[in-house]
Amino acid sequence: GCAGLLPEIGRRKNSPHLSQDALDAFELRLLTMFGLKQRPSPSKSALVPQYMLDLFTTYSANSAEQKHHKAKSTVGRSADRSASRANTVRSFHHDESTEELTSHHSGKTTQRFLFNLSSIPGEEFVTSAELRIYREQVMTNSSGNSSAGYHRINIHEIIKPALPFKEPITRLLDTRLVQHGLSKWESFDVSPAVLRWTMEAHANHGFVVEVVHPGDAEGDYKSHVRVSRSLHDSTESWPQMRPLLVTFSHDGKGHVLHSREKR
């Protein structure tokens, strides 16, 4: 298959076919260039989050725009600015087997999420990270209560996991007040925690996502913020709705992906 890389016009006529070893070496050289140890062989069911596809489209469009800009401008970018930005974006789904519903009573839903970040290479410098959570529109009858329909989402880092009969020790990373009349992804800045886990080698105990519901919340209102799988989800919908951790990093090589600040 690797021979397909060689342009038709450049192939030497009557040259003997490349041996399998030569093709393997050729492929390995290319994979090393891409920073991979071996050729990935994902299953057919592997899912690509829509957010990553959107990022790819945005970055590709931005690169094209920069080519034109580069031709016009000769102003160089400082090394410091480049180092502070990312050339790699990685996405992670949480490990559902470690998912833990800490509490789910009338006023509050608390769920623990653990993301395995061990696939981030040690030499890669993580510049920032965001936790993306989907919230699904809830249709309501208007009421006179001004606080109706509001949910507060708090994202905590677990500093020390829970001991029997004790709450875990956590610290608040980000918080937002949302109204349930809209379907939308919310992005929370979890950079301090991910930097601690990846750069400072602290133990990764995961996040706690706490959703504080309106006082009179019942039924559908509680499922507005999609932190867990529902019995009614189709097989396709949950994978595209589940929480997504996205890390932005720089591998020390090459140029940065430039539209980060624009988003």
């Binding site: 298959g1 690797c2 397909g4 890389l5 342009p7 492929e27 260039m33 891409f34 920073g35 991979l36 140890k37 071996q38 050729r39 990935p40 062989s41 994902p42 299953s43 592997a46 690509v48 989050p49 990553m52 596809l53 990022l55 790819f56 970055y59 590709s60 690169s63 080519k67 050339n87 790699t88 974006v89 990685r90 996405s91 992670f92 696939s119 591998d251 090589k253 090459g254 140029h255 940065v256 992906l257």
Partner: protein, 115 residues
Amino acid sequence: QARANKPKKKHKANCKRHSLYVDFSDVGWNDWIVAPPGYHAFYCQGECPFPLADHLNSTNHAIVQTLVNSVNSNIPKACCVPTDLSPISLLYLDEYERVILKNYQDMVVEGCGCR
């Protein structure tokens, strides 16, 4: 007429950028590279003739080397090489089936020149 019947001296094209499209499905990499489906890599090929014209995007050193080559053919001519390269972004699945978007530098030849 006699002149016209003489075999034509094969004209070698000057250094310039040529099209080269790398299709990931041709190499069986479309199962793990999600996007793009391939990319225009381009390559540089052609002569760097004496005297070097401005559009051949040469350096002072290339001009000197070409001048010396014109009197001493043991010294090679300047080479036709990429002078400007741009990056591409790849969206792919790694060995853990995690989705990665990465920017790879110097993947597309934007310009060629005699160096």
